[in-house]
C-alpha cells in the first residue's frame, strides 16, 4: 500500500528537475531531454491518478493508460522533428549552444 500522494510528490519533483534543466543548461540537446523528463513526470501522475480512481470506484479504468499511450506517441513525433531542427541549426551555426541561436535568419 503506497499512498497516492507519494506518487504525485515524486512526479512533482521529477517535473521540477526537468524545468530546472531547461533553465540552467545551454546545450539544446540536454534542454530537449529535460522536456522529455517533464513529459514523463506528467505521465506518471496520469497513471497514478487513474490507479487511485480505480481503487476508489472498484472498476477498471483504462483512460489514464490510454492518454499516456498518446503522450508517448506525440513525444516520439516531437523528438523526430526537434532533433531534425537541432541538426539543421548545427549545420548553419556549427554549435547547439542556445545562446548562439539569437538571430531569426539562419
Amino acid at each position: 500500500m503506497v499512498p497516492e500522494t507519494y506518487y504525485i510528490a515524486l512526479s512533482a519533483i521529477l517535473f521540477t528537475i526537468g524545468a530546472l534543466g531547461v533553465l540552467i543548461r545551454r546545450n539544446a540537446l540536454i534542454i530537449f531531454m529535460s522536456v522529455e523528463l517533464m513529459l514523463n513526470a506528467a505521465n506518471l501522475a496520469f497513471v497514478a491518478f487513474a490507479r487511485a480512481r480505480e481503487a476508489l470506484t472498484g472498476t477498471s479504468i483504462y483512460s489514464g493508460q490510454i492518454i499516456v499511450f498518446f503522450v508517448i506517441a506525440v513525444a516520439a513525433a516531437e523528438v523526430a522533428v526537434g532533433l531534425a531542427l537541432i541538426v539543421a541549426i548545427f549545420k548553419t551555426k556549427q554549435s547547439i549552444d542556445v545562446d548562439a541561436m539569437s538571430s531569426l535568419k539562419g
Partner: protein
C-alpha cells in the same frame, strides 16, 4: 512497511538520482544514459501501478527508440560538450530558487491543500493477464478511435517534417 512501499522508496531514490545526474553531467552522452535509467525506473513504477502495457511501451518507445535517436544525434554532431562561455552570474542560483518555489507550490496545491487519501494497492494477478490487455485494446479502439487515427496522421506529418528539415538543398536553388 510493506514490500511495495520499500520498493517505491528505492525506485524513487534511483529515479531522482538519475534525473539529477542527467541535469549535472557535463557530457551529453552521460546525460542521455542517465535519462535511460530514469525511464526504466518509471517503467517499473508503471508495473507497480498495474499498467504493464504502458510499461512496455515506455521501454520500447522511450528508453529504446527515442533515446537511441538522441544518442545518434549527439554522436553525429559530436556535440557532447559545449565550449565554456560567460554566463550570467546570477542565472544559476536564480533558476534553482525558482525551481524550489515551483516544487513547494506544487506540493502545497496537490498534497497539503487538497490531499488525497487514496491508497494504491499492488497490482493483482488480474491486471497482468491477456484479458486486461484485451480490455485496454477495446477501450482504445472503440472509445478513443478518433484520437488514435489523429495520432497516426501526426506521426506521418512528423516523419515528412523530419525529412524536409534535414534534406540537403541543391546549390543555386532559389527558395
Amino acid at each position: 512497511m510493506s514490500v511495495d512501499l520499500i520498493l517505491f522508496m528505492v525506485l524513487a531514490l534511483i529515479a531522482i538520482a538519475a534525473a539529477i545526474g542527467m541535469l549535472a553531467s557535463q557530457n551529453a552522452v552521460y546525460s542521455a544514459l542517465f535519462l535511460v535509467i530514469n525511464f526504466a525506473t518509471v517503467a517499473v513504477f508503471y508495473l507497480l501501478l498495474g499498467a504493464p502495457f504502458i510499461a512496455m511501451a515506455q521501454i520500447t518507445v522511450y528508453a529504446g527508440a527515442i533515446m537511441v535517436l538522441f544518442l545518434f544525434v549527439i554522436m553525429l554532431l559530436g556535440a557532447e560538450r559545449l565550449a565554456p562561455v560567460k554566463v550570467l552570474p546570477y542565472q544559476r542560483p536564480m533558476a534553482i530558487g525558482l525551481a524550489v518555489v515551483l516544487v513547494v507550490e506544487a506540493v502545497y496545491l496537490m498534497l497539503v491543500r487538497n490531499p488525497s487519501m487514496a491508497m494504491i494497492n499492488p497490482p493483482t494477478d488480474a491486471t497482468n493477464t491477456v484479458g486486461a490487455l484485451q480490455e485496454l485494446g477495446m477501450t482504445l479502439f472503440n472509445q478513443y478511435l478518433l484520437p488514435f487515427e489523429v495520432t497516426s496522421i501526426l506521426l506521418l506529418v512528423a516523419m515528412i517534417g523530419a525529412i524536409v528539415l534535414t534534406k540537403q538543398e541543391k546549390k543555386g536553388e532559389q527558395k
